[in-house]
Point group: C2
Chain length 400, copies 2
Amino acid sequence: LSEGAGTDFGRAGLPWGVFTPLGSDRRRVGVAVRRQVLDAGAAAERLGAPGLEALRADSLDPLLAAGPDAWQRARAAVSRWVGEPPRQGLGDLLHPLESVRLDLPFTVADYVDFYSSEQHATNVGRLFRPDGDPLPANWRHLPAGYHGRAGTVVVSGTPVRRPRGLLPPAEPGRPPRLGATERLDVEVEVGFVVGVGSRLGEPVPVGAFAEHVFGVCLVNDWSARDIQAFESVPLGPFLGKAFATSVSAWVLPLQALAAARVPGRGPGAAVADYLVEDAPWGLDIALELAINGGVVSRPPFATMGWTAAQQLAHLTVGGAALRTGDLYASGTVSGPEPGQFGSLLEITAGGRTPLRLADGSPRRFLADGDEVEITGTAPGSGGERVVFGPVRGRVLPARG
Amino acid sequence: LSEGAGTDFGRAGLPWGVFTPLGSDRRRVGVAVRRQVLDAGAAAERLGAPGLEALRADSLDPLLAAGPDAWQRARAAVSRWVGEPPRQGLGDLLHPLESVRLDLPFTVADYVDFYSSEQHATNVGRLFRPDGDPLPANWRHLPAGYHGRAGTVVVSGTPVRRPRGLLPPAEPGRPPRLGATERLDVEVEVGFVVGVGSRLGEPVPVGAFAEHVFGVCLVNDWSARDIQAFESVPLGPFLGKAFATSVSAWVLPLQALAAARVPGRGPGAAVADYLVEDAPWGLDIALELAINGGVVSRPPFATMGWTAAQQLAHLTVGGAALRTGDLYASGTVSGPEPGQFGSLLEITAGGRTPLRLADGSPRRFLADGDEVEITGTAPGSGGERVVFGPVRGRVLPARG
């Protein structure tokens, strides 16, 4: 319940979410500031903020759909209300994070997962296709991706049950075994939330990214590596990824990340015109992956080979329409250095070199009861760090 | 506009859809009977049908969510109203199909596409992976599938714009080319519409199929083979399938297909317990694919290697939740005989042996302006054939 507890959100970020005060049954749109959440809808109503009807809702959906002008007005208003000095008379609308429940902040329309870290794609290619070129032939030419299951996107804090499925045969020629995954893994990712949709048949140019994407969250794309390995040729990942995808309860508006923008690292080859950015949308987000309270990896998002603007242009180049609430994730973030990998598959070299947790216990993959947390910060305005809401989840044992 | 025109729906089927009379702006739930559509919501209101509030809606969503008892009551009521003799006093609620617009009948939650025809998987394997075993190693052990794009599922009659995308390099070592697909294709499929959802983490047993699935539609899973070929290793089909997926405007309830049930053909190997059916859910649906009015193929659905009940059990075995409006398609239906293949890729052997249309013109893949239609019938009660609503679509030229 105290999902937001322990995070000091500062004033540079002001992420959006949906909360319910304990003891209430009404969801509200909120903004996290320091260790509190502001009831943004009630504040807008009390202060008569014009054009901000979208805040008086039980999800972010109306705000997402309202578009960039509304996003800027809403952020400007909240910034004034919680600024230095804060607007007087809002004290009763500020709830301690420990006293609220945080819900999935928007209705997920379609969910797409990209694959845009060169290091991750190379690491995985070496493990899954040891006899081939580790990097897929198309990787330097397009931001590869696939559709995931929107209906199993869950908010941070939701426990994740270890899935069962068909595991690879114990020896070649034998049938697969039905069982609980023995290779439950995390993937540290960054997610992008579409606000403004697009029309079927009309591509979204790479330069129109900020007209469509509202903001950024953190994502844990839980993965069952053995289920995935057996099922995924030729149609790609399916049930090995479909049992749960966790997102942070808080969505940072793009505007909060202006100071974090950096040139993309690039995919290592010249790209087609529709993928050429005229302004950089790489983001210098410092991520951390912790298991049972101890940090095990620090993936740097700035090392990604494709940016979210390029991903959006690619997703729509064939005319696929966007809808409010579309979520797309970056793909696992893995930097080039040891200690920067975004999955246990990579950290343990496919389970061959176990990780040692802070309490001394070894992990090849996740154990039942493990608590996984992904956190992130980025440069903000005025030198302050912008703080992402965490993505947390505890592993429940498989169904008996 | 006259999407339903030309089809005589008979009385054995009574499929559900959503229509708007021309000149009106209000969508209603309807049932197709003969060459008319009954305004089911208005009929229920007029006749005071108890417990059928779900019919007074602008989509099938409430009916889908209402569950099997409501589905049976609704079908029984409509059967009485339009039976022999028909209930008097409903004449003004019967609209000629030519005088209505048909809309997407339900809100698509998640869309999954399976791959359950052995002939199709083998045909495609030979073309895309000429050096390997044509049938993927997992095919006989599980109904392989992947998630598609729910937001680009469109109703029959919606024109489909030829997509652009990255096409394979003209010669090895060259970069891919951005261009309009040169290999636009159809896939003849049958779709299953989930009514009752399930809880995250709780598998749906194979025997619970009819407690969750409301009904059946026809699907054209438009495919751009060249885009697909370049993008799909290792993550599977993405933009080559995401520009449009067409569904029939009419959904036949499972109850209408009782006489069409046959044992599944099976995947050619012993399967895990969770995939063993206790009652057959193979369906003897006779499909036809026509281009520009001439039939080019007659795929028999009874030849599928995995049934829709097995697909649902597989989809949920890892705990993935279902939602009202989930749509899953069978995969391309291809029978073992010449003239039974469900895609041009197969009919023309990858474009090597052009098809000759009725007007004498050759086709390797679809040309701009081509009209594609998929139709189907199945055994119904009393010896009458059950008629599916058609899936139609015309190919528009690519954006300039």
